[in-house]
């Protein structure tokens, strides 16, 4: 079953235009808030008025603005999980699932490990349990397309990790084309084989998580994958260019560029040195061990060092340090007028 969609949605300051083909498997769209991610899912589900374009699933035509076809949501067979799951508060867990199936589905309750909660009301459940109920309810509809909107937004950090790996195990077993939208790259990379980055209404890059990390196409992609971005002015220099950063200091890059640019540096590409031994200095805001690395937050960027490696420098709050980045680790993008907060 293949979903082919070409959707145009008017937004306040731009127009969202997304063309996508989904086969069985999970695709994630990542973008900053306001990029139109939720509206896109709602348009696919048939809930967003004002969307134009064409949507087909297999040989079913769901929407064709030109042919004046617009199937209402109740006829689209979509499993839609909104951010807050929207469980019916007046129905029990079993009742929520029954609403979609119009009969009891103990097998689904069993499969999603919520059978013991069958008679509970949604408000009694934890965040992870709510998500499982929402999934069971969506699957009870026997959907042909699964849409997940920020599936972890309603969860605290600890639950989030747990639920994410749960979902990562479950999704491939469903055999459904699945579209997930999120602002968090790590959620996308944990669940989806292909990731698209949405910026100002366009998919600016589509690829595997590794491809996006290795060669981000735009500054926003770099930012979403966790890179530091700084603005500056580039001028040619031996072996590449020199970028004079706004706010002082300079970085050398092996790329050739000139004029206003943004540079992206991965946190693990930064090393520390004495302040007077570098063209770029900064002040430590905090340094704390996180997940096997020493995360050093500076005023202008964040660096990640392997634990125990600090170049013999006192990385304490207020300490002035010099920063070094190998020229091949400094990626340059033409400067953008906005920073993706549209």
């Amino acid at each position: 079953m293949e979903l082919v969609a070409d959707i145009t949605l008017p937004r306040r300051s731009f127009e969202l235009r997304v063309r996508l083909t989904l086969e069985t498997g999970t695709v994630a769209l990542v973008g900053p808030s306001g990029a139109g991610k939720t509206s896109l899912l709602r348009a696919l589900a048939g809930l967003e008025r004002g969307s134009r374009g064409r949507i087909t699933l297999g040989d079913e035509l769901w929407m064709d603005t030109e042919g004046r076809t617009d199937l209402p949501p109740e006829h689209r067979r979509v499993g839609y999980l909104p951010q807050d799951y929207a469980l019916f508060p007046h129905l029990s867990v079993a009742g929520n699932v029954r609403f979609a199936a119009r009969r009891d589905r103990p097998d689904l309750l069993e499969r999603l490990r919520i059978a013991h909660l069958a008679s509970e009301r949604p408000q009694e459940l934890s965040g992870g349990e709510r998500q499982r109920v929402a999934l069971a309810r969506a699957l009870a509809r026997e959907p042909r397309l699964l849409l997940l909107d920020e599936p972890f937004a309603a969860l605290d950090a600890i639950t989030r990790d747990h639920v994410r790996s749960e979902l990562a195990n479950l999704l491939p077993t469903l055999g459904l084309p699945t579209l997930l939208v999120t602002h968090a790259f790590e959620d996308a990379s944990a669940l989806a084989g292909r990731i698209g980055v949405l910026d100002r209404g366009q998919v600016v890059q589509l690829g595997s998580a590794a491809e996006l990390l290795e060669s981000p196409a735009t500054q926003l992609v770099a930012q979403l994958t966790g890179a530091n971005t700084l603005a500056g002015i580039a001028e040619p220099a031996p072996g590449g260019s020199l970028v004079r950063l706004d706010g002082g200091g300079a970085l050398r890059t092996s790329e050739h560029a000139s004029g206003k640019v943004d540079v992206a540096i991965d946190p693990w590409a930064v090393t520390f040195t004495e302040p007077n031994a570098s063209e770029l200095t900064d002040t430590v805001v905090s340094a704390s061990p996180e997940r096997g690395s020493l995360v050093v937050r500076l005023t202008r960027m964040t660096a990640k060092l392997p634990l125990g490696v600090n170049g013999g420098l006192p990385l304490v709050a207020g300490a002035a340090v010099g920063l070094r980045v190998a020229p091949e680790d400094v990626r340059v993008f033409a400067a953008q007028a906005h920073t993706g907060d549209a």
Binding site: P73, D84, A86, S126, T159
Partner: protein
């Protein structure tokens, strides 16, 4: 000060209830005038209530969700009878539906005569009481998280099922509270009814009208019926309060959008 206010509110009630011995009071409940009025009140209010809830609920649901030009005008029109003096409402109904009123000709042609019939009592109650229900119902439906209704659609529910199986139960507390207030208002309806329907024992004389007509003839009986009305109204008020409380602490209003989920999976 507080004691004074409470005394002022309670004193008339106490005076009414203690005016005659309980035996006399119970006797007053059983007189012909009283039983006739009880039956007329029950029947007319019952029918008006059914019409109000049956037609008003979908109307309020649509009005709560729809966005169209002139919506605020419609909302104001709905609330207008709330501030209209009941006697004026009765006059308005008379000149609209009465024999010589706006629709009088059409009614004569169809062989119906509304004024001074039980149908007129029902119309008067509907006109005066249903705005209380509509206003409350619109507010209750507006408070329903739209995502719930949208998700119901993706789960295969058509418009009617979305309303009946999701919006109405989620808004039930607010709907019930509004219905109780409207019912109480209808039960006490006097001004519009007496002008539009008259006060004929056994056909249009509701309980409040019976109180008025007995006021000169038999004060004891008038007071007995008054006590009966107070008891019923107090019961309705209590019901409304309980329903409103259950509504205010319902999950949708406690956790807007259900986003406060917490704890481990």
């Amino acid at each position: 000060m507080l004691a004074l206010v409470i005394a002022f509110l309670i004193l008339p009630l106490a005076a009414l209830i203690s005016y005659q011995p309980v035996r006399e009071l119970l006797h007053g409940f059983g007189t012909r005038v009283a039983t006739d009025a009880i039956l007329v009140s029950l029947k007319c209010n019952g029918i008006a209530f059914a019409l109000m809830v049956g037609l008003g609920t979908p109307f309020a649901y649509v009005l709560a969700r729809a966005r169209f030009r002139g919506r605020s005008v419609v909302l104001t029109l709905v609330e207008l009878p709330l501030v209209m003096p009941p006697a004026v409402a009765g006059l308005a109904l008379l000149v609209a539906f009465g024999r010589f009123g706006l629709l009088g000709g059409a009614e004569r042609a169809l062989g119906i005569d509304l004024a001074f019939t039980q149908a007129a009592v029902i119309l008067a109650i509907l006109f005066v009481a249903s705005p209380f229900y509509l206003r409350g119902a619109i507010a209750a439906f507006s408070a329903v998280d739209l995502t719930l209704v949208d998700v119901a659609a993706t789960l295969g529910a058509g418009p009617l099922r979305r309303m009946l199986s999701v919006a109405v139960p989620v808004a039930a507390g607010g709907l019930g509270a509004a219905a109780a207030v409207a019912f109480a208002r209808g039960l006490g309806e006097f001004g519009a009814t007496i002008l539009f329907a008259g006060s004929f024992q056994g056909t249009t004389q509701t309980l409040p009208l019976a109180v008025y007509s007995l006021f000169d003839a038999n004060l004891d009986q008038a007071i007995a019926i008054g006590v009966l009305l107070i008891i019923v109204s107090a019961a309705i008020l209590l019901t409304a309060k309980l329903l409103a409380r259950s509504w205010n602490s319902s999950p949708t209003s406690r956790f807007p959008g259900g986003r406060s989920s917490f704890a481990s999976g």
